[in-house]
Structure formats: C-alpha cells, structure tokens
Symmetry: C2
Subunit: 477 residues, 2 copies
Amino acid sequence: MKRFLDKGWQDSMRITFDFNNMMFESLGEQGFKWEQIEELDPVLKRAAASMEAKRKAGGMAWRELPYNQGEIVQDIINTAEEIKSKFDNFVVLGIGGSALGPIAVQQALNHIYYNELPKEKRGGYPRLYVVDNVDPERMEGLFDIIDLEKTVFNVITKSGSTSETMAQFLIITSLLKDRLGENYKDHIIATTDKEKGNLIKIAKEEGLKTYYIPDGVGGRFSELCPVGLLAAAACGINIEELLAGAAYMDDIVSQRDPYKNPAYMAATLQYLAMETGKNISVIMPYADSLKYMADWYAQLCAESLGKRFDTEGNEVFVGQTPVKALGVTDQHSQIQLYTEGPFDKVVTFLGVGNYRAEMKISEGYEDIPAVSFLGGHTMNQLIHAEQLATEYALLKAGRLNNTITLPEVNAFTLGQLLYFFEVQTAFAGELLNIDAFDQPGVEEGKNATYALLGRPGYQDKKAELDARPKKKDRYII
Amino acid sequence: MKRFLDKGWQDSMRITFDFNNMMFESLGEQGFKWEQIEELDPVLKRAAASMEAKRKAGGMAWRELPYNQGEIVQDIINTAEEIKSKFDNFVVLGIGGSALGPIAVQQALNHIYYNELPKEKRGGYPRLYVVDNVDPERMEGLFDIIDLEKTVFNVITKSGSTSETMAQFLIITSLLKDRLGENYKDHIIATTDKEKGNLIKIAKEEGLKTYYIPDGVGGRFSELCPVGLLAAAACGINIEELLAGAAYMDDIVSQRDPYKNPAYMAATLQYLAMETGKNISVIMPYADSLKYMADWYAQLCAESLGKRFDTEGNEVFVGQTPVKALGVTDQHSQIQLYTEGPFDKVVTFLGVGNYRAEMKISEGYEDIPAVSFLGGHTMNQLIHAEQLATEYALLKAGRLNNTITLPEVNAFTLGQLLYFFEVQTAFAGELLNIDAFDQPGVEEGKNATYALLGRPGYQDKKAELDARPKKKDRYII
C-alpha cells in the first residue's frame, strides 16, 4: 500500500502548532492571556461561519484541489514520465505564484544540490530551473547551461498578460522555432486559464500541450493545481502524496473550534499581535529544505493581507510584513535584532522532527574543551539544540514566538504545511475584514510599465508619468 | 593600465544615491522637509566628528582595509592561482559575516550559474560552496557533489569557538585525514584571529595555511579582509579592483558635509524615518546579481543597529528590521503590501545602469497587441521600466523610497557599495547613540546551545534552561 493511504502513518506525520510562547504563562506580560482569545469568540465564530459559507458557495476553489483533480493528476504523471524520457531540463517561465510554489516544493523534497547531480542520481528526471525574473544577465546565463533541444519550457500565467512571462515566452518560442521548426511545440507546455486571456488563445492556435488553472484559484493559492504539480512530478516528486497531505490537513483546519484548529488559532494570534503593533511576521525554518517555503509564505501573507481598504471600503492600511530567516544561519544575522530590537514582531519557527540524514560530528582536540565538546554529538542534535536555544533566548527577552513542527520533511507533511498556511491566511483575512484574494495594489506598477513600453491604450498613463515631479539634482549625491 | 587605476573610468563608475522620493517635494506630506534635516545639524556634526575621532583612534580598523593589505592581497592572489591548479571546489566553512560577504560577491561578479558551468567556462577556477548551516541533510548533500581529493576548505571563524563552523571543521578534518593522511593539511586554509582562540592554536600546531582577520574588524565588517578576499580571488574575481572601489567610496563618504556624503545622508534619512515609526528597511535590488547583497546588508543592519541599550545604558530597543526583496520578481509578491499596507517602511532600490548582457525580446503575435507590444524591446528596457514603474507606484501611494544606482555591476562598483553600506551603518549607530559594533543579544542563544550540548562550564545555564516554564499541552495543537 502507498504509505500516504495508511492512517497510522498519516497520524505519525501530522504537523503540530505550538503557541506556548505566545501566551502569558510562558512569556509574561508580552504574551496573550487566554481571556483575550475568549473575548474574541464572537469574531472567531463569525469568521469561521464565513469561511464555511464561502467554501460552500464555491468561493474558495483552492480548497477543493486535494479532491477534484484525479484525472489531471494522472495526466500530469504520464506527462512527467514522457518528459523524463525526452528532456534533460524542465524550465518554468513564470513569476510570483507561478514560481514560488514550484521552487519551494523542489527545495523541500529533492536533493539540495539536485541540479548539480548527474542524471542517474536524479533518478533520470530533468533538472529544474525557474526563471522568475527578466534580468537579461540571468536569461543569457541560462542559455549557457541548457541545451535547447533537451529542454522543455512550462510557461505559466493565468491571465496570459504577465509582461515578464510573455517576454520570456516570446524569446523562447522564437529561439525554438529557429532551431527546431515545427517541432518547437513539443518543447512548450502552457499552464493558463481555460478560456480567458492571450496564452490560451496562442496555445489553442498553435496546438500546445496545455494545463488549466481552475477558476477561482489565484496565483498565490495555486501550488496544488497544475501550476505546481507539473514541475514537481517532472522532477520525480510524489504529487499524490502531496495532495493527500493537503487533504489530511483540510480535515484538521475545517474544524470550527479555534482551540482545535491550528490554522484558525495561528491567524487569531497574529491578529492579536497586529492589534498591539507587532506588524512583522518572521518565518524561520530550521532546515535548508524549507528555506523557500518562507518565500512562498511571504507572497501569500503580503499579497493577501496587505490591504488599504476593508470589505466595507474603509481605509485600514493593514498587513504584517513577512520576513524570511533561516535557522541556524540567521542566528548570526538577525537574532541580535529579534532579541534586543523593538517589540514589533512575531517569530514563527518551522522545525523538523527527523532530518532525512544523520551527520556525526567527529571527536577530536581533547585538549581544547571548547571544541571537543561538540565531538560525539550529531549535527542533528546541534541544529535541534540551536533551535531550542534560540526559542529560549526569544522567550527570555519577552518576544512572541511559535513553532510549527514537521515530523519529517516529505510530500505528505509539505502538503499539510501548504494547506495550513493557505487556510490561516484566508482566516486572517476574515478577522481583518478584508478581501484576502485580490491584489489591487499591483495594478499601478503594471500599468506604468505598459505605459513606459508604449503598449497601445496606455497613452494617458504615459502622460501622467511624464507629469510627475521632476527630480532635483541636490537630492542625488 | 588596469582600468581601476584610471580616474576617468573610476568617475564613470561612481555609484549614486537618489533620495528625491524621501522628500516632501516629491512625496508630499509623507516625505521629509529640508528643514527637518537642517534642524538635525548639531546632531549630524557631532556624529561626523565622532566618526573621525574613532577612525583616528584606530577604532574602525575596517575602514583601512582598502589601504593596508598590499602584501596580503599579493599572497591571496598567489594562493588563488595555486588553488586553481590543484582543486575543483573551494568550500567556505563559516557562518554569518564569514559567509554572507563571500556569497554576495560571488553572485554579483561571477556567472549566475557559475557552479554549473564546465571548468573551462569558469576560467579554470574552482566551484564555490559556502556551507553556512549545520543542517545534516545539506552537509550530506555536499558530499554527493564534491570529490574531497579535489576540494580545498576555507574554515573561517575569528574566535575559533563558533559551534557551527567548528562542528563542520571536525567533520571535514576527520574525513580528510581518513582519506589523505598527512596530506589533509593541503586541503585546509584557516582564516582567524592572529593570536586568540582555538582555531589559530590548531592551525599553528598542525601547520595549516592561515590568513588573519585584523584586530578591530568584526564579522559583518570583514568582507574586504581575507575573509572575503580569498574566496573571491579563488574564483577569479579581481580583488584589487574591489578594494580600489572601496577606497574610491572612502573619499566620498569621508566628507563631513552630509549634503555631499551619500552614506551620511542615507543614514540620516533612515534615522528620521525611524523617528516616525518606519521601522522596516527594505532592500530591493533590480538585478539577480545583487540578490545576495540584500542578505549581506540585512546582517549588517540588523546586528549593528538592533540594540536594547544606548551607549549611556538607557533602554532604547531600537533597530529597523531589514527585509530582502528582489526586483522585478517580488513585485509579484511584496509590492501589494508595500503600496497598500501600513506606512511602516522605507524601500531602497538597488538599480543598475548597464547590465552586462543584452537580451532582445523577439517580435511576434501581431494580432495580440497585449503581447506584441513587448516585441522589439529588450529585457533591459523591460526591467528598467518596471523599476521606474514600481518607484512611481510607491511614490503615488506616498511611500518613502530611495535608489542607489550602480552604473554597472563590477568589482569596482561592488567595492563602493560594500563600503557605502558599512559607513552608512556606522553613522546610523552614531545618530542612534548606540554601539554599532557589538552583538550582546546573541550570547543567550549561544550559551543555551552550549548548555544543551553539555559543554563544560555551562551547568548553571543548563539548570536555568531546565527550570523554564513547562509547555502546556493545550497550547500545542
């Protein structure tokens, strides 16, 4: 039996949320009292009811992704096998939600130096590159290391009008056509909306292999649809287990009772923190494998909760600023500030129960006790001790912190974690009474870019830009 | 003549600081008025005088690094050539200041996929790995991709008691001794204090090749001493040009007049921002090459300026939280928050005049204007337009922002940038009246780690840890 179908194994892999160090009993006056949460009871009940109502009405399509993709998953798995047999490189052309999930999942579940391994040590699967910028140096650099004829490109944009992605698409299709003629089509897979937008139009006209981003699944909530699943499967990741983990977490975070629902509780505590001016949310994984989960979360948090207006149109200017840190590395960079600086943040540790490797620290230098005490321990013990020590240092300094622990990093626990954060974020949106699913604040920059590049229809915006205050020379030194 | 000695070329490569969008004239009421800076005049004069006095008294040894390393630089260059002839991999064992600088400089100045290039495309220089964590999965992963016999390890720790680095050192020396016997020595270079600590003791006893970290040069100010120079030279970077850039910037940022001194002005504006509650400092390079400069700056800023006490012992709990973003990538992740969220941050763009590559966007799809308008432009134009558009979006939303522009990313401009940020940070320390060069807040976590691993002498700390409040089960869900 596949392990992810075994209930006993599933329960042994349940991730946990420890918020002791958010509370008065541990932290003292900087912590929250139980009564503060109880006082929120009506708010929490209303938010939970709203979550359920929206889901029932089909307004949270991303929540159904663990359940309604049976055929698509099979198609993706078949495609992945075909890719494996034909290609050495799988390149994602995408940005934001089309890039951060694929990067995070790859880093978590494959070898940490995956692209540098010889093919046989990658199980025969292709290397993965995610090109989520339009830096010409990086784009040129990519062509130095990939052979176009052995590369498949997955262009991902829901709207088909993402400038960065479509610019990459133009460059790549032109290169492929020059090199391969009509066969260029075999090297491009489009992931986009089923009906709307430019990319689906192009894909249909040219007969490209296409996956769809379901209605109601926005970029930052799209990792568990083909956006993330194809890249993962193409690199040998078990996407059925990933989805099973998400489904397992759905059971847990669908509970109305916030005292049993870790996603609701996490959102509630961040909400309380924001009310007392803690407007910075640090995510600090103690594992290199989870490093880019912090990046994925940073988008989810910032775009969903950073809002000017509430749902009634009042100006609120809310939103914690997500900060990415890495344990133990950033103990030597950020912890000084976190323990001694302003009381303006909440630190969320991502801990790991069992690492997938054990590394013994060799004994030696018995005449130097400050070195030799390390010998005989494992790096596993060292990293665990450092996480605990950092938690303790924050506690002693009166700093809010909490810990999410994955028994192990695998597809099942990662699926849980993705789903956990998504529900936490949506629930936080309810508490803040904002729309967690739009991003009106990015329009200004997009439109200004269009105007600067002379896109038809943006002449007015160009005129507006030209009329902005001239820069003063004395303010440039 | 070497280009970095030519005054005309140097001046064409001068980096600039544009703070128009910090000021009232551009930003309106969220901006600062010129009089606010003028009112600070006595404070600025005092801070400038203190900077000069400290430097004269030898209290800022890091400021002399561009000038006093002639022989060392030659030795490093010779060693780099020897390394090139013998090794395929150069591995830094270090953390914090010993790692972030080497990573940032490598990313900026070498090919973006350097480690994946074949040796001849790397100019024959070795690959670079910086192992700045004690994650057992990452350590084991490293051994899958390097051949120990073709690898040289540069162990870097000033104190010789950094647990993470010494644990790595114990593992590596043991492996090397098993494999190579007495020849293991040829595979280790130590960079540490000249006299104090465990590593220099070991290095002397075992006869390891050693570089010294000068007195008075703390970890986060050490990139321009052998800590950073050896790794850079070993990968073919022109470290003389790097130091020349730092010296060039020293002239600029030694001026007393803050209206001519960009580092002083930058610090002054951040200081004013902090006074009005803008406690988040975002660094947003518009170049993948500068991505890890944001990480290096994040340590410099957080450890230097995140302080509980001022120099008179008053509790102040100051410090901006540095946030790393990447343009254009994070426009699709963070800009929603930056334009619509709380007025709690300053965004510093790092722009690039000329990228070292040009990438033309191919024309096509004339029937789809929303795509075809991109064709015929270059990615260079696109990334420049997006930077300008984002700056404009922030301006329109009344958000403080400023821009540092490098005419090009090269060793000379990077040397300038490193030195600029160091002086800005030291000057900010003067304005805040704190010690920018200590890090007392990291001791608690270090000591707790020692206690948890049973280091002799830490029994009391262990007892203290054991006596901490027990966690409540109901706060773990």
